[in-house]
């Protein structure tokens, strides 16, 4: 190879940092834009309470922004940290860290904008429920941040853990695969959790007395929507910590890369689907509180079925890692 090891590491770190911040800003931008748009609509409907609406917009955006601040932290670490043990493996780990954080912040950023927007709009319709709406919005968007936090954990591990002298050839693919698996799988969960939280704010604005049931079912729905990103976390941990024997074949690294891609993409759909199911259930619990138990049951059944595709994806990734 024509480059020095240090140069390759620097290239990987700068690319990773760029990916982390660039992609990481996309989600928060869309989400906060949605919040601001709904807040505008809310103020035009009810200008007398514009102060309250601005207030909850500001607080909601401050929490929704955390996803992109996570990305900023990782990007700055990648740009300014010096690698403790320079090796080509570290270069792959830096790239993987950037991919994990960059993709991982998209879903959480978009998702946590929905509760903010719906809460602002809800305040304009139901100014008396201001404090319940703000609280529910913040809890909902905080839960949306969990996939981004998982991605940050994976990125930090890839940056800081010293992987010693693991063989370069299959391990580089394992690190990039770990980043892709966590990052992509976090998109669906973050977005889905946001759908559920948005619907719950809309529901509370419609019937403030059902706030306890709505918040409870929102949290259950969001927790189930996080499962695909937990699968992604699991696969990326396996990829990071399993030691792979050295091999000069092309097929081995490709299998590990494929495992990461499989779990990553496979987590997107079920995450969004689970979120949609939770959204439907939450919306109708607010309109029909007496039947919240039936709605909770059918939401869980629907989510379990929609989860199955994520489980297939996990099985295929495990086969790619362990059998092949």
């Amino acid at each position: 190879m024509g480059f020095e090891v240090e140069t390759v590491i620097k290239i990987a770190a700068y690319t990773g940092g760029g990916i982390a911040m660039g992609l990481g800003a996309v989600g928060a931008a869309i989400g906060e834009g949605y919040t601001a748009a709904r807040a505008n609509l809310a103020i035009s409907r009810n200008p007398e309470i514009s102060g309250d609406i601005f207030k909850s917009m500001l607080v909601g955006q401050a929490v929704a922004e955390s996803a992109s601040i996570f990305a900023l932290v990782i990007a700055i670490l990648l740009l300014f940290m010096d690698a403790a043990t320079p090796s080509l493996l570290k270069a792959a780990a830096f790239l993987g860290a950037g991919l994990s954080m960059g993709f991982g912040a998209i879903g959480s950023g978009i998702g946590s904008g929905y509760p903010g927007g719906e809460a602002c709009f809800g305040i304009s319709q139901q100014p008396a429920a201001d404090s319940q709406l703000t609280t529910n919005m913040l809890i909902g968007s905080a839960v949306c941040q969990t996939p981004a936090i998982f991605s940050m954990v994976v990125a930090l591990m890839l940056i800081f853990i010293d992987f010693g002298n693991a063989p370069l050839t299959p391990t580089w693919a394992a690190f990039i695969g770990a980043g892709l698996s966590m990052g992509l799988a976090a998109i669906g969960s973050g977005y889905g959790g946001g759908l559920a939280a948005g619907a719950s704010c809309e529901g509370i604005a419609r019937s403030p007395q059902s706030v306890t049931n709505v918040t409870t079912i929102m949290l259950v729905g969001q927790a189930v929507s996080q499962t695909p990103s937990i699968f992604g976390l699991l696969i990326s941990f396996i990829l990071m910590f399993k030691s792979f024997p050295e091999s000069s074949m092309l097929a081995t690294p490709m299998a590990l890369l494929g495992a990461g891609l499989c779990m990553g993409f496979g987590g997107i759909g079920p995450g969004i689907g689970n979120g949609m199911a939770a959204e439907g259930a939450v919306r109708w619990v607010a309109r029909n509180v007496e039947h919240s138990n039936e709605l909770m049951r059918i939401m869980l059944v629907g989510q379990a079925v929609s989860q199955s595709t994520a489980i297939y994806a996990m099985v295929v990734s495990l086969v790619l890692i362990f059998v092949v």
């Binding site: 890369l257 494929g258 499989c262 079920p270 439907g280 039936e294 929609s306 994806a313």
Partner: protein
């Protein structure tokens, strides 16, 4: 290292298996979620028909699931047969 043709085929099959299952899971995941959301809406409107609606939802989801199973089959074929 000298890479032979069979080696490239094997590597492409592994990446292909990952992409097949991964991308193939997006559609059914979202679709089944939509079915569940609509079922919740229907039960919210008409709670007495909960049993019938649950059954209908499960049938609809099973059909939507089939594309996910196709991609699982294709992925396993790529892994073990090619």
């Amino acid at each position: 290292m000298a890479i032979e043709g069979a080696e490239i085929v094997k590597a492409a099959a592994f990446i292909g298996a990952g992409l097949s299952m991964g991308l193939g899971a997006i559609g059914p995941g979202v679709g089944e979620g939509m079915v569940a959301a609509k079922a919740c809406e229907a039960i919210g409107k008409n709670p007495r028909e909960a049993g019938l609606l649950t059954r209908t939802m499960l049938v609809g989801q099973a059909v939507a699931e089939s594309t996910g199973i196709y991609s699982l089959v294709v992925a396993l074929l790529l892994l073990f047969v090619v």
